[in-house]
């Protein structure tokens, strides 16, 4: 019967190939060098300092609902020509803008 632990993944066959087990009753302590950066790239590019959108969730949903109510009217008032085109583009515009909810 094949072992349940057969064919365990191997990414680099060399890894652990020369490992010599130390005495497990005598635990080893890794003492690596401690990193103290002095370079300037510990700060990210200015556009990658992320903050949270300040708008409160409730306010945001009010605005969203208000926008939805307003939106169908807007094409009518702005471009009369687009009213014809609206039938053509309806599928596209609806999926990209108003049908989010």
């Amino acid at each position: 019967m094949a072992s349940i632990l057969g064919d365990l993944p191997s990414f680099d066959p060399h890894n652990f190939s020369q490992h010599r087990p130390s005495d497990p009753s005598n635990p080893s302590r890794m003492v690596p060098t401690t990193y103290h950066p002095t370079h300037n790239r510990t700060l990210p590019p200015p556009d990658q300092v992320i903050t949270t959108e300040v708008k409160n969730i409730l306010i945001r949903s009010f605005y969203q609902r208000a926008e939805e109510k307003l939106r169908p009217k807007r094409p009518a008032s702005e471009h009369l020509t687009s009213e014809h085109g609206n039938k053509h583009f309806r599928a596209a515009s609806s999926s990209s803008s108003t049908q989010g909810l």
Partner: protein, 1008 residues
């Protein structure tokens, strides 16, 4: 004054909370990244094993850790969130070998209830979103743009308030999360949501109600299978939009998992008892057909598991030592598939500790109660210089080859033997001095002692000996016998000594004579009655010293490179900044040693111990040496008793399956061998809460007092406990007296020959009564009410400091005449105390449950009574570690003649296995170091763009305030790791020479 404090880490955190594997340092290299609370360690997998590259301190407590690869990147990035609502994305720049911050941010919200469960930080497998769950009812999304850059974060309302786990699902056209949650009836369910970039959730493809009551963990399954595994305590369920499979498992709480195969068909699961299982998803092509689970073997109790490569996995533990394990295809004789390749020391969680100075060298040895459950242990931590053993031979007579040197006199005892210039050997016996050729082994010259004189002690150096000539130059008669002698060359000429040092019997002096005419130039009275055993003339950093070792183990230096002092407790003495430093060595019972320099072992030492010869080199960094005594159960309190040379511990043994799942004990151990000598089992449901060794008025016996609590399942808090008084007789614990109490005895202190106990809301004083019949008992004398729970008590003279569960620190006084305890003043802040210590008569130190340290001061000079009744907060600092115990003491040998010897220190232990040192500095030194710290903040940058100032600011639920009157020793001591140019930058800014700065920082390092 103990207001100006310096806090430094002697032992970095050792608890592993998270780990992950990926190609971080290069596309070809496989890395193991391990999080240890406030640090990450970057390791590289190599043919030899796991090689540590870097230890990275972070200015924050790590909440989550994940590797991910945005589109178009050749190697992984590291995403870290920290508990104080910050995150960062780090990249390894292999050209400069530096960590670069790709992005960072503040993810806090002004309103919102922080989650009770762990913070969650996850990344969509297709790298479209980062998801965060930090506050109940909110899910925060940080979207990626198509170039892998992060955009502004937004919150989405999450209906589920009690979230247990959230994971992103694989293979979804839109980012989809599975949410495991508990409803108000405590039933657990999973729901899925699509995260729409319209800043809202859309109902997901499936949900599953009424899961296992213990379901606590989700494992997302990668493509092609997709779906999620829901890990419960009695069942494991596989769930996806089109399949549902479940299996029953032996009841266990799964603490960690690690995915084995890239396709997600096998997982390693680690449970609360340290058992490792393999979970297999059986499938036919992309159709899941079932689940299988197999027990593999036992490891430490895992907190995280990562499959590494070629059947090797890493088990990170916060309850025991972390381990590197090999998964064998066939079980061993005991049926285990697991082979432990390596263990990595973990001291955490340190719940109790004691500091003792068994050898009375002024150097503390810390014994900690470490680990939890089956991985519980005692750890003996000592600071010292290590000998790196290069080779060692066992000395057996039949194996030693004896060489006859013809020129030596072998019928009489040799007093002294040494090699000398011109290939000669010197032998001194009680009546002659012989000079022998080391090449021909023949006698070249000899000198016989005149009749009536015998030689007692002798010395020589290698150079002041003629080529084949021996002449008596001078002879003087002294009034007493000589006990020891030395003429090691010091001064300008390394080959010629102008001085001889002589130690004397009877008048107990050391004398210095000028060579060669032996005129006495000085005589020093040593005082006392202990004869000098060994003298040595030597020079450290150009300063000449005379070292004199006494028969009782004291070492005196008279205004005097490394000297190795051989004894039953070997030590190295060296000079640093023209000050002598004494350091222990990690060897026992050295009888003799000498320098040994050969091609195979350059600059080594040959060390003779009983039956063994070791060759090694001195490891010049003083570091902590840790010895582990496995207990096999959770040791929680420890105390040492000098008189009986024992330790007593309170411990708890868990039987996960048995009806009565816990058993509590008081156990007695030998303080040298750590053998268990005796055990006293406590009653059912009775916890050992505190332990103390003390003596009482009019009774010189040493007793162990143990405070307990009956923790009954149906009670909210304990209402009954006991104080047990034991005496150690013939290595056994004998119960002498017991006293019932009206609550849990959280703390016990020796107080004016009486016993002071903290019992629930009360601090109670007991006196010790010896009855006529010889029976002894505790009798209640007085007490003080007024705590929520009096958890910690410390005393100093008649002063009592109480640390409350919620009400910070109060100061009480015992009035002898009235036999009463009165509260004088208190800190009115609502700090939840986790440890307490008295620094001096006026200043008290507290650690709280928000990982802060603070000092408060009695305001006894205050003009109004109101002011006098309230303590003034004088210092605040965010340590970032949960302190369980402070103890006065030092980890290093403290010489009263050195400046650092005057600085009071205390040692603390934390949940993450940190051993820290806090030193109370003189104001001048503090002010100087504060300036240095400010300069260092500008030069040493926070990894991930995190700020040191913010990190060290005191913070709790109510307020955040800048750190004051505490210094971060870890930052200050990293000055010595800086490049010369950076040191000069700081030196210029402070207008202090680099050498002076180095010297002052090195002095601090010697505190730990």
């Amino acid at each position: 004054m103990s207001v100006w404090n310096y806090v430094v880490t002697a032992q970095k955190p050792t608890c592993v909370s998270h780990d992950c594997v990926g190609n971080f340092t290069s596309p070809q290299e496989l890395n193991l990244i391990v999080a240890k609370c406030t640090r990450i360690e970057i390791h590289l997998l190599t043919p030899q094993g796991v090689q540590t590259i870097l230890d990275v301190p972070l200015y924050g407590r790590i909440a989550t850790l994940e590797l991910f690869r945005p589109h178009g990147e050749a190697q992984d990035l590291l995403f870290i969130t920290i508990e104080r609502y910050k995150f960062c994305v780090l990249q390894w720049d292999s050209e400069s070998s530096e960590l670069v911050t790709r992005a960072m941010g503040d993810v806090s919200d002004r309103i919102g209830l922080p989650t009770d469960n762990d913070q969650i930080g996850i990344i969509d497998p297709d790298c479209r979103l980062i998801g965060l769950h930090l506050y109940d009812g909110l899910f925060k999304v940080i979207p990626f743009d198509n170039k892998g850059q992060l955009k502004e974060a937004f919150n989405i309302r999450l209906e589920e308030l009690q979230v247990l786990d959230i994971k992103f699902l694989y293979g979804c056209t839109r980012p989809t999360i599975a949410v495991l949650y508990q409803d108000i009836k405590d039933a657990r369910h999973v729901k899925t949501y699509e995260v729409s970039l319209k800043e809202d959730f859309v109902k997901g493809p499936w949900s599953q109600n009424n899961l296992d009551y213990g379901a606590d963990l989700l494992i997302p399954v990668p493509q092609p299978l997709c779906g999620v595994l829901i890990i419960g305590e009695e069942t494991i369920v596989y769930c996806s939009a089109n399949a549902f499979k479940a299996i029953q498992i032996r009841p266990c709480i799964t603490k960690a998992y690690g995915r084995v195969d890239i396709d997600g068909s096998r997982y390693l699961l680690g449970d609360h008892a340290g058992l490792l299982h393999l979970l297999v998803i059986t499938h036919e092509k992309e159709k899941v057909t079932g689940l299988k689970i197999e027990l593999l073997g036992e490891t430490s109790i895992a907190s995280s598991i990562s499959y590494l490569d070629n059947a090797v996995a890493f088990v990170g533990s916060s309850y025991g030592d972390s381990q590197l394990i090999k998964l064998n295809t066939q079980p061993d004789a005991k049926g285990s598939y697991v082979e432990i390749l390596e263990s990595y020391v973990n001291l955490g969680p340190i719940v109790g500790l004691c500091v003792l100075d068994l050898e009375r060298q002024g150097q503390g040895q810390v014994v900690t109660c470490s680990g939890a459950y089956k991985d519980g242990s005692l750890r003996i931590v000592r600071s010292g210089i290590g000998i790196n053993e290069q080779a060692s031979v066992e000395l057996q007579e039949d194996e030693m080859e004896e060489t006859e040197i013809e020129g030596f006199l072998s019928e009489v005892q040799t007093l002294f033997c040494h090699d000398a210039v011109y290939n000669q050997l010197v032998q001194v016996t009680s009546n002659s001095v012989r000079l022998v050729s080391s090449t021909t082994r023949e006698l070249r010259n000899k000198w016989d002692a005149p009749a009536g004189f015998t030689v007692n002690v002798a010395t020589s150096n290698a150079s002041q000996i003629g080529d084949g000539t021996l002449t008596e130059v001078k002879h003087v008669l002294l009034e007493y016998e000589v006990s020891c002698i030395d003429m090691n060359p010091i001064g300008d000429n390394p080959n010629y000594s102008q001085l001889a040092a002589v130690g004397m019997w009877t008048d107990i002096t050391v004398r210095i004579f000028v060579l060669p005419d032996l005129t006495l130039i000085t005589k020093e009275q040593l005082g006392g009655e202990i004869i000098p055993r060994s003298v040595l003339l030597c020079a450290f950093e150009g300063i000449s010293y005379l070292l004199c070792a006494l028969g009782d183990g004291h070492l005196l230096n008279f205004h005097a490179t490394h000297v190795f002092a051989a004894s039953d407790r070997p030590a190295v003495i060296y000079s640093n900044n023209k000050k002598l430093v004494y350091s222990n060595v990690n060897l026992k019972e050295v009888s003799h040693l000498c320098p040994f320099n050969s091609a195979a072992f350059p600059d080594s030492l040959a060390i003779a111990r009983e039956g063994e010869l070791t060759i090694g080199t001195i490891n010049d960094i003083q570091k902590l040496h840790i010895r582990t005594i496995p207990v096999g159960e959770h040791a929680r309190r420890i105390c040492h008793q000098k008189q009986s040379r024992t330790f007593a511990i309170c411990s708890v043994r868990n039987h996960p399956s048995a009806e009565e799942s816990e058993m509590h004990f008081v156990r007695l151990l030998d303080d040298q061998t750590f053998d268990f000598l005796s055990t006293y089992p406590l009653d059912a449901f009775e916890y050992g809460c505190s332990i103390l060794s003390c003596s009482f008025t009019d009774d010189k016996n040493a007793y162990y007092c143990v405070g307990t609590a009956y923790v009954l399942p149906k009670e909210n808090g304990p209402t009954k406990g006991r104080i047990l008084v034991f005496i150690v007789e013939e290595g056994r614990l004998q119960l002498i007296a017991e006293k019932e109490t009206e609550g849990a005895v959280y703390s016990l202190n020796a107080f004016n020959g009486k016993l002071l106990a903290a019992i629930n809301q009360k601090i109670q004083l007991y006196k010790w009564m010896v009855r006529d019949g010889g029976t002894r008992e505790l009798q209640s004398e007085c007490g003080h009410h007024g705590h929520i729970l009096a958890l910690f008590v410390q005393t100093r003279g008649d002063f009592i400091a109480g640390g409350d569960l919620m009400k910070s620190i109060s100061f009480l006084i015992y009035k002898h005449e009235e036999g009463a305890i009165e509260e004088r003043t208190r800190d009115y802040n609502a700090n939840w105390i986790s440890a307490l210590e008295i620094l001096d008569d006026d200043t008290y130190l507290g650690a709280d449950s928000c990982y802060n340290l603070f000092t408060v001061k009695k305001n006894s000079e205050g003009p109004t009574e109101e002011e006098r009744a309230s303590m003034e907060v004088v210092g605040e600092y965010h340590l970032g570690e949960f302190v369980n115990r402070f103890r006065h003491g030092s980890l290093v040998m403290r010489m009263p003649d050195s400046e650092t010897g005057q600085i009071p220190t205390l040692i603390f232990g934390t949940v993450n296995g940190v051993i820290g040192v806090m030193a109370s500095l003189p104001q001048e030194q503090y002010a100087f170091l504060e300036k240095l710290q400010t300069s260092l903040r500008k030069v040493i940058k926070g990894v991930g763009g995190l700020s040191h100032e913010q990190w060290r600011s005191f913070t709790n639920e109510k307020r955040t305030a800048e750190a004051r009157n505490f210094l971060d020793g870890d930052l200050i001591e990293s000055f010595l790791d800086l490049s010369r140019s950076k040191m000069e930058e700081i030196s210029k800014g402070m207008d202090v020479q680099v050498e002076e700065l180095c010297k002052r920082v090195e002095e601090l390092i010697r505190l730990h």
